[in-house]
Symmetry: C2
Subunit: 312 residues, 2 copies
DNA sequence: AAAGGGCATAAGCTGGGCTTATGTAAACGG
DNA sequence: CCGTTTACATAAGCCCAGCTTATGCCCTTT
């Protein structure tokens, strides 16, 4: 339980003592000379002892005032330093939390460009799936997949979370060689699927009028925890994975992945979102990243999601 | 030029953070929970970053809040410590500034009794003649001789600054042996006076209808700077000195000094005064000393200044 | 003398910081 | 499962601490 004098008075005294002038202190504090005089007097009355000797039109410290000054100055210095440090750190470090998938397949590849455009900003990206850390101040900005409503948070839709089977060209070729013809959606239940237990396969079958092979769906397969890993497995020829076209357009363009059914893209109703605390939306670093990401998205979305692009 | 957040908000935050509870902080600060909530929110808005995560009916610190807390706590601790130290020192140390004379002849002999009565108080007596040090807080109380008006200071008259010739019994006897009769005031101009240059001798001569011997007054003699020294010189048999009866009553009673003309006491219009800054009059240590001194004075004055006492 | 700079003081205003009252959500206890 | 308790948020409104403005006085400077 603390017993402190009114801090406004202490502050006025400290400034006055440091400047050895009420007028100068007032200027420093953005007050009038009368205000400083008032506060100093109040503090002296509270202490029951004089802090200044008023003489010859100047105010000089009493021994008591002299003893108090250094401690108080230091205290205010450290308070100031604490907040300054915080502000500087906060201004110069942008922390983004995103899903493993988005980080791997998309953001990591372009964050460099943002960093180039804003060399004064240190950018830290961390991957996790907890949105609470935004409210807790662990990150400035989050990118998350979901239905899109987080209470008390501002969201911007980045792209629909669509999905369609993909595989490496070799894998597709092998499958078609086995069939002796071009692969059809209806062949998928018996094709080599990396993670057949994934619920989304069921939805994709349903969306595309394919009767799922119950037995096939209960095959063991591999759970890879996230789409990024499944995508990489697919590129490595491990089989088919349900992937989001937007995230893999680079790999598709480079021929590392193929999309056998560009017409058969399911949407899970989810999307990827940029999520941020609304009260921080105008903080410079947040504003810059938000604007940059939405611009890049806008630019990327047009060609990428068109059928033309998918059919490369 | 400092840039600090409002200190009331910082204080509220610090208390809330330390207690990990707004309600407890409010109790500590003597405010309502709403006030703390308001201030913390204001600080968070100012910083543009959350300091607490509100969850499950509790408030937990964010990492940022956690980083700020120790610095701020320390700062407030040291502010508190500065004022506490000052208060404790101030409460336990009574500083009295007095004249050399009064210190020597009177106060030093009785300060022990005051100290006995107030063992918790350390008493420091310093002798100097500057009254300014009271305003500068160098001393709590002053005892001074003078006409009695110090602007802005409270004064209590202790005793009139009367004076009359005194000498050692031997000295008086020698003088009377030389004369062959009892000493008369009119004999003084040619008697052995320690400091004949002292203006007060002139006044005493005048008050007692004695024609001063111009030549005698221009005798060299010894300037001893203060009455204490003159009194001691007189006791040592160096000659006659003009002394204040009140201050030497002990020595008169003990036979170390004699007062040849108890009826011929001059008053210089001055007095000895207890002087103190009115704003500190009720500070315990000041009040105690003031009351003690005035009581002792009252007690001492009655018998001491009566003619009976003087004629011992 | 006159001008200027510094602090004190009085009077009066104003909005920051408080209180009171109420809402909400979670934890608790029976 | 429901009433009770506890904790924080929020709204509305009040009040006085802390400010400003205006003035005076004193000392120094020119």
């Amino acid at each position: 339980m603390r017993r402190l004098p009114p801090l406004a008075a202490v502050r006025a005294f400290e400034a006055a003592a440091r400047n050895e002038s009420f007028t100068a202190a007032a200027a420093e504090l953005g007050l009038t000379q009368a205000a400083v005089s008032y506060q100093v007097k109040a503090l002296e009355e509270r202490l029951g002892a004089p802090l200044f000797v008023r003489e010859r039109g100047r105010a000089r410290l009493t021994p008591l005032g002299h003893r108090l000054l250094p401690t108080l100055s230091q205290a205010f210095d450290s308070i100031e330093a604490a907040f300054t440090t915080q502000r500087e750190e906060d201004e110069s470090l942008l922390t983004i939390t995103t899903t493993h998938t988005f980080a791997n397949t998309w953001l990591a590849w372009r964050l460099g460009a943002f960093q180039m455009a804003h060399p004064e900003l240190a950018v830290r990206m961390s991957t996790s799936n907890d949105i609470v850390d935004l409210k807790a101040g662990d990150a400035d900005i989050a990118i998350r997949a979901g239905p899109g409503h987080w209470p008390g948070l501002e969201t911007h839709k980045l792209f629909e979370s669509q999905f369609t089977p993909m595989a490496s060209p070799e894998c597709l070729a092998a499958e078609e060689r086995k069939l002796g013809r071009k692969l059809q959606p209806s062949d998928m239940p018996t094709a080599h699927i990396i993670n057949p237990g994934d619920d989304w396969w069921q939805q994709w079958f349903c969306d595309n009028g394919v009767a799922p092979d119950e037995k096939a769906l209960r095959r063991p397969g591999i759970r890879l925890d996230n789409q990024a890993n499944e995508g990489h497995a697919a590129m490595a020829g491990q089989g088919f994975a349900l992937l989001t076209p937007f995230l893999w357009q680079g790999d598709v363009a480079a021929g590392r992945l193929v999309v056998p059914f560009p017409e058969s893209i399911s949407a899970r109703g989810w999307a990827y979102w940029l999520v941020l605390p609304p009260e921080r939306r105008m903080v410079p670093k947040v504003k810059r990243f938000r604007e940059w990401l939405l611009a890049v998205m806008e630019e990327a979305r047009q060609p990428a999601l068109s059928d033309a692009a998918m059919e490369i």
